[in-house]
Subunit: 342 residues, 2 copies
Amino acid sequence: MSVPVGRSPVMADVARLAGVSHQTVSRVLNGHPNVRTETQARVQAAIEELGYRRNSSARALVTRRTGVIGVVAFDTTHYGPAQTLSGIEHAARADGYFLSVVTLQTVTRQAVSEAMDYLAQQSVEGYIVIAPKRAVVEGLAGQPADRPVVAVEGGEAPDLPVACVDQEGGGYLATRHLLDQGHRTVHHIAGPDDWLESEGRIAGWRRALAEAGAPVPEPLYGDWRPRSGYRIGAQLAGDPDVSALFVANDQMALGALRALGEAGVRVPDDVSVIGFDDIPESEFFTPPLTTVAQDFSEVGRRGIELLIDMLEAPAESTSLHPARSVVPARLVARVSTAPARA
Amino acid sequence: MSVPVGRSPVMADVARLAGVSHQTVSRVLNGHPNVRTETQARVQAAIEELGYRRNSSARALVTRRTGVIGVVAFDTTHYGPAQTLSGIEHAARADGYFLSVVTLQTVTRQAVSEAMDYLAQQSVEGYIVIAPKRAVVEGLAGQPADRPVVAVEGGEAPDLPVACVDQEGGGYLATRHLLDQGHRTVHHIAGPDDWLESEGRIAGWRRALAEAGAPVPEPLYGDWRPRSGYRIGAQLAGDPDVSALFVANDQMALGALRALGEAGVRVPDDVSVIGFDDIPESEFFTPPLTTVAQDFSEVGRRGIELLIDMLEAPAESTSLHPARSVVPARLVARVSTAPARA
DNA sequence: GGCAACATTGTTAGCGCTAACATTCGTCCC
DNA sequence: GGGACGAATGTTAGCGCTAACAATGTTGCC
C-alpha cells in the first residue's frame, strides 16, 4: 500500500487516505490558516506514507507561476562568470526559485535573444543576463519586455536594472595604489574595448592619472587571455618609460609577468604589476600578484534580489528609475608592486 | 489586434484567428501529418501575428514530460567542473532539453540527496550528478531510483551509468612520461583521498611505477588548492631523492613550483614537475607546466547522451550493465619536465 | 436559547493543452 | 453508383492542481 504500483500518487490519493477532500490537502500543502491541527497531521502522515509530491506543472498551470528564473551566461569556464553564476544560484534557491541556465559561446545580441527565446519556451518568470558587452546591454534594453530582466555586470546600462562591481572604482584603486608608490605614471593593458569591464577599468585608470596630473599613455588592448598579456608584456618589456603596469585581469597579468621575466625585467624591482580579479592562483604567481578583488557571488546575489523584487512587487514604477546595485572592489596587496626606484 | 491586451494568447485565440479548431493548431505545432499545407500556413501566420507561445505547464501536465534535466554540481568555480557543466548544458540544449542546476558547497551524501529532492519538486525527468567522491556515488546508487541518474566524474561507480575521464590512464601517462625521461622514481602530490579523481590518478601512478620496477614513495595528500601544493612542495624541496614530481592538479602544481623556486630548486633542471587538468594558466606558469589535459566538455556531452538514452529508450535492461563512457586523457608536454640529470 | 460571526471542510469550475474518438469529405475501384 | 478507405478536421474528456464559492460545524454573547 505504501508503494502504489503504476502511477505516482496524486492529491486525490492523499485525500482518500487521510479521509479529507483533495482541497484540504492543497490547503495543508500551501500553509493556509484554518485547517485543524489534527487534520493537518493526518494529511501530513498520508503524504509521507504515499511519498506524495505535488505536480509542479499542474500547479504552475493554475497559479501562472513557474518559479523558474532564466539565466543567460557566457564564458562560465572563467573564474569570474562562474563565481557569479554560483552566487545567482544560491540566492535563487534560498528564495525557492529554480534556475534554468543557457551558456553562450559568442557574446552577440542575436545569440542572447535566441537564448532568451529558448528560455521563454520554458515559461521562465524573468531573466538574469550576464551582459559584459555594451552591444548586449543595449540590445537587451530595446527588447519588448514581457517579463522582467536584470543585467549582471552590465556596467552603466541605460534603462535596465543592473547589479555589478564598481569597475571604475576598481581601476582607480589599482592605479592610485601604484601612483602612491611614487611611480610617475601607470601603463595599462586593457581588456577588449567592447567589454564594459574594460571600459570601466580604463575610466578609473584615467581618472586616477588625471587627478595626479600624470601623463596618460595609450592603453594596449588584450583579449583577457594569458597569451595576449604575454604578447603585450613582451612589447612593453623593452620600454624604459614603463615602471608600473596595471593589467585588466589576472590571466593577462600572468602572461605579462612571464614576458617580463623572460626579458630579464624584474618584478617588482624594475616594474610593478597589478592585476584584477584575484583568481585563486594569483597568490602563487611569480611573484605573488597584487590585484583587485571582486565579490562575484555578492553580485550574483544582488542580481537575484533585484529580479525577485520585480517579480514579487505589484508591477509599478519600475521603469522610472531602474535599480542599480554596485558592489565595491577591494585592493589585495601582495608582492608584485613596490615603490618606484629613486 | 496584433498586441492583445490583458492576457497572453492561448491556442484557442490562434485557432479563432486562423479559422480552425484548437486541435488543428496543436497538430501544426507538433508536426503531425495530415494537415493540409494551406491550413498549416494559415495557422503559422496566426501564431506569428499573435506572438503565440505554447504554455509549457499545460503541455507538461498532459504529456507527463517536462523536458527538464536536473544537474547537481559542485565547485563550479573551478575550471574542470565549470567546463563540464558547460558541456552538459550545450549537449542538453542541442537535444531540446532544459537544465535546472543546483550547485553545492559541501560534497556530502546528504547535501546531494537534498539537492535531488529540491529538483524533484520541479519534476525533472532525470539527473546528472557530478559526483567526485566515493561516498556520493555510493549514496547515489543506494537511492530509490524513480528516475534515471547519470554520474559524471564518478570513477568506477558500481551500479550507475557513468561518464568520466580515464583518471587512471592519465596518472599512468604522467608517471610514464617522467620515467621515460630517466627518472629513478616519481613522487606524487595527490588530491584528498576520498576523491575518485585522486584515487584514479594514484592508481595509474602506482601502475606505472610497478611496471618499471621503480620504488613507490608514500603519496602526499593536498586539498587541490595552490596553498597545499605550496606547503607540500616546501617539504619536498629539501629531499635529494626527489627528482620527478607528479602533482594531481595544476593549481597545486603552481603552489609546488613556487615553493621549489623559493627553496632554490630549479625546475626542470633539478626537479621535473608535471600537473593535471591543463587549465588555461598552466602554459604561462614559471616554467610553463607539462600536464595532462582532460576533455571536460566531452565528458559533459557523454553524460547527457547517456541520460537521454535512458529517458528515451523504452525502459528496459538498463540495470543489467550500466553504461560507462570513458574519455581518454592526453599528455601536454611543456617546459617543466626534462630528462633526469646523469 | 437563538443568532451572528467565524472556523473548518467540501464542491465545483476551470487553467491550456494533447489524446482519443467522431465526423466529414474526397477518391478509388469493382 | 455505392461502399470502403484514408485524409483532414472537429469534438470531447481529461491531466492534477488552486480559487471561489457553498455548506457545514462551533463558538460567544445578549
